[in-house]
């Protein structure tokens, strides 16, 4: 049992736990922000107070904000020195996701537009 427990990797400081886990407080703050953003999203989708064409934009902003909250408070992504690679990979991931989603939507909208029957 003892050799197994000593199986710490090269570069690991013995007895020092990872600093990339957050604390109870981090999770509770994240929960608070996420709850507020979720409630606002559901409220915005069903209210008449907001100018209707603006609702999708508002929902998009709220969703991106909530994803940010999850990344920072739950996944503990930060710009700390030992997380440089994680951060760069995330940046590339966001770029690729944006390319796939918006690229597909623009191309398909363009195709739809060109395939429409001319109105006589």
């Amino acid at each position: 049992m003892e050799p197994q427990l000593q199986q710490s990797a090269q570069g690991d400081t013995p007895g020092v736990s990872a600093q990339t886990h957050g604390t109870h407080r981090t999770y509770l703050i994240g929960l608070g922000y996420a709850l507020v953003l979720t409630l606002t999203s559901f409220w915005a989708a069903s209210t008449d107070l907001v100018f209707p064409p603006g609702v999708p934009v508002l929902l998009g902003v709220l969703a991106i904000a909530q994803m940010g909250v999850h990344l920072v408070f739950f996944l503990n992504i930060s710009s700390a020195p030992d997380q440089t690679n994680n951060f760069l990979a995330l940046a590339f991931g966001i770029f690729a996701v944006a390319l796939i989603v918006f690229g597909s939507m623009i191309i398909m909208a363009n195709l739809n537009h060109n395939m429409m029957m001319p109105v006589e």
Partner: protein, 206 residues
């Protein structure tokens, strides 16, 4: 604790280029993070398909006719709460408190299972109303996107059971702690995908 802080402060003074290979924890975390990002790319493709096809109802029911927001709100709360309890579980793993790990992970499992039960109930209800995946391109895209997320949650629940068995049999070895850390990342990433799902699929329908 003061000794640990001292070591940490000392390691911060060494330049990155002289620190040697990164620890297994950092490398494993990075590798799993790359997997998660590629997984999110799958969801990006499914989101793109849904956005393109959401209007193609083939004369059948559209998104506004089908979805119940209260239902989705409860699902969202379940997943959000399970994310936090999973975080508390991961903290308990770090502190090697077995009883707390079992408590928080059981809670996480129950919340995840509730979410899954609600989603399966919704799917069955839709199919019973004649709005199954074969009805229109919109419904095919909907079932693929939300179903893939549900499949991930199912796999997460299985993984959770495996991790609890490993804690019970192997104890808190560095290997098990690393796996638990990766499981936490997986579970939180599912919650991020769900934020996209409820915004685009359920709230975007108007």
């Amino acid at each position: 604790m003061s000794a640990a802080e001292h070591t940490l402060a000392g390691s911060a003074e060494i330049p990155v280029s002289l620190r040697g290979p990164a620890s297994t924890r950092v490398v494993a975390g990075f590798g799993f993070w790359l997997f998660l990002l590629s997984d999110i790319l799958i969801f990006a493709a499914l989101f793109a398909a849904y956005s393109v096809l959401s209007g193609e109802t083939a004369g059948g029911p559209s998104a506004t006719d089908l979805f119940d927001r209260k239902h989705v709100f409860i699902e969202t709360l379940c997943l959000l709460a399970s994310s936090v309890t999973c975080g508390f579980g991961t903290l308990a793993v770090q502190r090697a408190q077995a009883a707390m790990v079992y408590f928080w992970m059981t809670l996480t499992f129950l919340l995840g299972a509730t979410f899954l039960a609600l989603e399966i109930g919704e799917f069955r209800d839709l199919v019973a109303r004649g709005a199954g995946p074969s009805h229109s391109a919109f419904l095919s895209a909907f079932f693929t996107l939300v179903g893939t997320h549900g499949l991930h949650v199912t796999l997460g629940l299985c993984w959770m059971i495996v991790m609890l068995i490993q804690v019970a049999t192997l104890g808190f070895r560095p290997m098990v702690v690393r796996r638990f850390f990766c499981f936490g990342l997986f579970w939180h990433a599912l919650d991020i995908v769900w934020v996209g799902v409820f915004t685009i699929v359920y709230l975007g329908a108007r």
